[in-house]
Symmetry: C2
Subunit: 428 residues, 2 copies
């Protein structure tokens, strides 16, 4: 990798990551602002802003934006997270200047037209309806709300019907003015790109972004507990969650290895025990998500009404077993899986751009691939026991379930499987 | 591209597609056999076989297969379609021989162990449950059954609860013996691969595959009609379908351009009219699927109960407008989108391997990228009118809906918007 970094006088960081063999480029603007930066009445405004950016600028209509990028066969898209919002494009080599021009235009001169806003509200309400119809999507909103109740970190990214109905044009404008600050934004371009050209174009087009940084949101407080929604679905959809680690925690690599060994692939403990040995589910997976001030380790599965009874004790049992007696083979395997996912990810420009942006916004620097691989290589059984013990020590986990979930054990029974040390529990 | 093709004496085709700049490879075995090759009592057996191939061989246990590939950080997966089944892997360069060895082993010496089969039945029943809980997944099964009722082409790929409960070990063995014939199978490896090495390994490992070809399934008959399932969902999920074109139809490129212009991106007619102008939905898209003996052009969207009333006339109206007066700009744009999707797809080995396999199984040859781009470039307004007229002439379209769909217009009303020629309708 031959990464170039420049900074404009307003604080905007520009990163280029040339892949000379490619004919296309992936580029985008990442903003260090997302749903957790919202106040209660503005729940969902980050996501609405993301939608409205595409709805016209001083120079371009909404239809014009769509037509212009697609006329050159480009793709333009965006997403909103809890801590970041991204606007990104994928284009052929010759169209990098056009993509940068459109991205800059929608972020520096959006009009947030009132008629477009009224229409887009309806679109977002349909998006919320679609999410509600997808159990393995909506259950993660329930889980997040259970972990962080009455806090921005626990709110649904899309907002709720009443807040989406209430946003005004002024709300969008002042939210953008307050949060979309050049010092908290990065432009990243991977693939068929040239550093000098990208920097020159960014100087021309992004210099009007206001300086300064996005205000830091309040620290999230893990509360935990249960959400259980009985519903007429085929499967009992279940998630279980435990406090994870923030981006910069030194044990973050160990937690990745633990989570991979627990439920990251076909050979993982949960896949082998729940699907392969017991035949209880089609999907089971564990994931570790990190934020600035904490993180979440979550497990998702879906099973039948009767089978739901078996799941929670098995999840707790495998977590405890991995925390107390991690095997050398499973650690080696999980490290290899993470390493090859990292290397294969380097072959895709969109993936590289996203990784680079995330590193800059969360670590303030590019984390070299060699460094990542070395850190993964250092994860040993002691580190796995350390992060595993920490998860097992959770006094108050979180649990969200949806569907025919009457047979799932009570939250109290589940929570009692955690807390204290593994040694204490073994001695009981 | 520097593609190598060899053929073993049993008829197995081996294709390599080296991408010298890569450190990883995507490789797999594609079989010209899928759900439409099944008899009624064996509905779902192709998919069950795909699952059971991973459940142990004479040399490897199910767990051994998972552990062996993941120990080198590789990914192993499979999927079943209506005409094809694929078993594929992604590994780092050095592990190509291991991946080929595992793929060959599971396809030449699977044991289909009885205990594993009983357990895997439960896993597949859970997979069916999960699909039923996902409206924008299950609705396509309803649509397919409506288009091709009482025919293998219309059956759900996963099978149904009663057929999945009934498969015996012998069923799997005889289905495999009859259909997994070397002359109807291709091995494709893209990325960090070497032709001579891949061919040598395939000779060693795949020579025991039986010669011959998969029996050709019965021709599918488009019947069409309606499936309407009232259900307590947030959105009215709707699909509309029309007879498309088979893989080898000379108008296949024109149909791709038509479908892209109709509902392929943000600038497409349906996206602009239904989402951007009317704010009725979050998702609307049109897709063209091809098979050996026909195809399906389908449109999917989800909207609210009241809004469902508006959808069908708008879909029919945009289809007619595009068929009668296609704009030069929208044709140019759709061609550019298809061309750049094709070029960007070439940058990913998994995508290349899949494309090459599909071309060999459906055309019997590699279709050069230059040829594809030239054919796309030839699509003009006359070709769009021709394929559009053909869709509009549909005497009996198909419609599947799910959710609060009481306001969706009747099938009779919708079908009456089609049939005859555009000129006839204009004269009415």
């Amino acid at each position: 990798m031959n990464i170039g970094i420049s900074r404009l006088s307003n604080g905007l960081t520009i990163v280029t990551d040339p892949m000379p063999q490619l004919e296309s480029a992936a580029l985008g603007v990442w903003v260090n602002c997302g749903a957790r930066n919202e106040s209660r009445p503005l729940m969902g405004v980050s996501h609405m802003l993301e939608h409205m950016a595409f709805k016209g600028t001083e120079r371009r209509s909404a239809r014009g934006i769509a037509e212009e990028i697609e006329t050159v066969g480009g793709f333009l898209n965006a997403y909103t997270g809890r801590e970041q919002t991204a606007f990104h494009a994928q284009v052929l080599k010759a169209d990098v200047p056009l993509a940068l021009d459109i991205l800059a235009d929608i972020l520096t001169h959006p009009t947030f037209d009132q008629t477009e806003l009224e229409r887009e509200r309806q679109v977002v309400l349909q998006e919320i309806g679609q999410a509600r119809d997808t159990p393995d999507d909506v259950i993660f909103d329930h889980l997040q709300a259970t972990i962080y109740p009455h806090q921005p970190m626990g709110w649904p990214i899309l907002g709720e019907d009443d807040t989406v109905a209430g946003f005004s044009r002024g709300d969008l404008q002042s939210y953008m003015a307050g949060n979309y600050r050049a010092g908290s934004m990065v432009v990243v371009a991977s693939g068929a790109v040239d550093h000098e050209m990208v920097v020159r174009l960014c100087e021309e087009k992004f210099s009007s972004l206001p300086p300064g940084t996005t205000p830091t949101p309040a620290t999230a407080q893990w509360i935990g507990g249960e959400s259980r929604v009985a519903d007429d679905l085929e499967q009992a959809h279940m998630t279980f969650a435990f406090p994870g680690l923030c981006h910069t925690d030194p044990d973050i690599y160990a937690l990745q290895v633990y989570t991979m060994a627990l439920g990251g692939g076909m050979s993982s403990r949960l896949f082998q025990e729940v699907r392969e040995k017991r035949g209880l589910c089609y999907t089971i997976s564990a994931m570790a998500q990190s934020a600035t001030d904490g993180g979440v380790v979550a497990i998702y599965t879906g099973t039948g009404e009767q089978e739901a009874r078996e799941i929670a004790p098995v999840v707790a049992g495998e977590m405890a077993a991995l925390a107390s007696q991690p095997g050398e083979a499973e650690i080696t395997r999980a490290r290899a899986q993470l390493k090859s996912a990292l290397l294969m990810g380097l072959e895709r420009p969109a993936n590289r751009a996203e990784q680079l942006a995330s590193q800059l916004l969360t670590h303030g620097r590019i984390v070299d691939v060699g460094e990542q691989i070395a850190k993964l290589g250092e994860v040993d059984a002691a580190a796995i026991r350390r992060v595993g013990e920490r998860l097992m020590a959770t006094e108050r986990p979180a649990m969200a379930s949806l569907g025919p979930v009457g047979k799932l054990e009570s939250f109290g029974t589940f929570a009692a499987r955690f807390g204290g040390t593994v040694a204490m529990r073994a001695a009981e």
